[in-house]
Amino acid sequence: MSHIDSALAKGSIDLFNLGKAYRRYPTRWARLREWIQPGKVRHELQWVLRAMNLHVPPGQAVGVIGRNGAGKSTLLKMMTGTSTPTEGSARLHGRVAALLELGMGFHPDFTGRQNAWMAAQLLGLAGHEIEQAMPGIEAFAEIGHYMDEPVRTYSSGMQVRLAFSVATAVRPDVLIVDEALAVGDVYFQHKCFSRIRDFRQEGMTLMFVSHDPGAIKSLCDRAVLLDGGRIVADDVPDQVLDLYNALVAERENRGFEASPAPVGQRHVGVRSGDGRASLLEVNLHNALGPARVFQVGDPLFLRIRLCKNAELTDLTAGFLIRDRLGNDVFGTNTWHVRAEGLADVWPGTTAELYWQIPELNLGPGSYTISVALHGDMTHVENSYDWWDKAALFEVVRGAEPLFEGVCRLQNVSASVTHVTLKGEKVTA
């Protein structure tokens, strides 16, 4: 019942068995022959996307990730209606605004203002609405006098500025953004993100394709991983991005296995690596023994048991603490801290590594620790064993003064000068 309700609600997205295939003809003449003799099929279908089912309730923000050619752009094109599905259907409810790649199909000879009008009309805005929105569009785009210059004189960043301003001039029910914002400068990206966040608070649904994990993590509450034209993962962004990283590493590193963690056991994260060294056990301790909850400023000991399975000249062990949203909080490895000894471990034997964090100055909240054994500084190049979210811990308040955020900066104080205290007479 609730599914039906939300399917009808403004801002919901429903993909039913969606698929797209391009027709491949051996020659151009074959296509003509097929047109003239409709009975005979002379093409073969090349599927780029198939059997895609997805329900997005109103107000959800879904990040779409995947390698190049995974079908992300095709998916978004079908959702916006610029490309027709070969099978199945994509249903979007409410007003949809889309930013596909560069611009919104701007005409190079028309001015920015004319193009903005045209794009707004195509979004289905009425004349008086556009009239009203135009000052806002101009102000948000911040392209100055270029507004009245032909679009062909624009830089790609300026085109995106204008396109985003128009697309979001009036809050759509669904906003679709395909990698477009990557072109803009950081300042404008931040502006866009904050507008998207504002709209999301008002209930806008977002479909967002990006190669930037940070953007997905901070904007989306769900992520979908596409590979080979199919959805291979659909979960919280953190989880899906780990799997995506594993997929990317797979290309670099053959003989590597990645499997998603069992549902419900989020702390047992994605494992990947070629196995020339492996992680056996990852434990967290406080001063007294094994622990899962720490007070701000407590010591934290990370005990890692590992096994070297092959002759390795370089072995580095690293860890990375991430917050609840998947933001990287702190990470380092034995190479950075110049810890010796790992390279000397005899192949076939196990070893224990003790990380000591004397003061865990993190803000209250839950965190994960990912642990990796790798060759060089970059684990993608030579990953032996990489264990995402190997351990989970909770930080709770201690005796320290209240503070906000994930990081407790040290020695923060305040002093007050040049004031007259209340009740004290000002003397000449």
Binding site: T82, M118, Q121, G127
Partner: protein, 282 residues
């Protein structure tokens, strides 16, 4: 059974009423785009909108000089000193309307590929925008022609309303051919070249700059299988003689109407069937 199915398929691909609703919903975009196209025509030129007149005036001047004076061709039964000019304008201006419209229409999907790939809207808007721009140009130049007729005392009087049905048929014919060629052009770019070549042949196969009487006897009957010749004759008769054409001419116009309707139906059907593939090919 099979016929019935085919009939239903044809009926389903008929443009009404979904397309009417789409066009109405996007009327602001269509009208706005027509206006922008008109403005864009003259942007960056010194003479601006004057080019709208200079081009056809030059054409009329050249043909009048060559055919009327140099070649000394005279129109039978017309004594006015402007006779040939009127004859020429009546055919040439309407021909230009046809060829400009078709020229715009055949490239309408190919040239707007950027927009087609980025924005979702009823694709039918694009041919209408192209047709709108050409119609505007035609109205301006035709208005000028009317001024000339008034000032030279050659205005045909009430018979001039007789051009309206012919213009309507011409528009239908243009739209049908335009939809057909515009869609095919996406998949076979040869179509764009073929259209331009075809227009060149058709121009000389239509009695526009020459009177039918210069043709040999055997060719005069055949010339009427060209729909444009029928339409042109209709205009020429009204403007030159100030009276409505005779019965056979109206019958011929009726036949052209059927051809235009058939072409529009075919053009619409090809467009409708191929539209889903179109964005993939651009």
């Amino acid at each position: 059974m099979h016929l019935k199915q085919m009939g239903r398929r044809w009926a389903n691909s008929l443009p009404l009423p979904g397309v009417v609703r789409d066009v109405w919903r996007f009327r602001a975009f269509i009208l706005g785009s027509v206006r922008r196209d008109i403005e864009a025509q003259f942007r960056g030129s010194l003479l601006g909108a004057a080019w709208l007149f200079i081009q056809p005036l030059a054409m009329i001047l050249v043909y009048t000089l060559i055919f009327s004076n140099v070649m000394g061709s005279r129109l039978a039964g017309v004594s006015s000193m402007y006779g040939y000019s009127v004859y020429l304008c009546a055919g040439l201006l309407t021909w230009n309307f046809f060829s400009e419209s078709l020229g715009r229409l055949q490239g309408v999907f190919v040239n707007n590929s950027n927009l087609l790939k980025k924005a979702a809207f009823p694709r039918i808007c694009l041919p209408l925008i192209a047709l709108g721009g050409a119609t505007f140009n035609f109205l301006v130049i035709f208005g000028l022609f009317f001024l000339f007729l008034f000032s030279s005392g050659n205005f045909p009087g009430w018979a001039v309303v007789g051009i309206l049905p012919a213009l309507a048929v011409q528009l239908l014919l243009t739209l049908g051919l335009g939809m057909l060629t515009a869609t095919m052009n996406v998949f076979f770019r040869d179509v764009g070249q073929l259209v331009n070549m075809g227009l060149l042949f058709l121009f000389w196969l239509t009695p526009i700059v020459y009177p039918v009487t210069v043709l040999p006897e055997w060719a005069r009957a055949w010339i009427w299988i060209n729909p444009l010749a029928v339409l042109t004759h209709h205009y020429q008769h009204i403007f030159l003689h100030g009276s409505l054409p005779d019965r056979p001419a109206w019958l011929a116009l009726g036949a052209v109407t059927l051809v235009a309707m058939a072409l529009t139906l075919l053009g619409w059907r090809v467009y409708k069937v191929r539209a889903p593939e179109m964005a993939d090919e651009l």
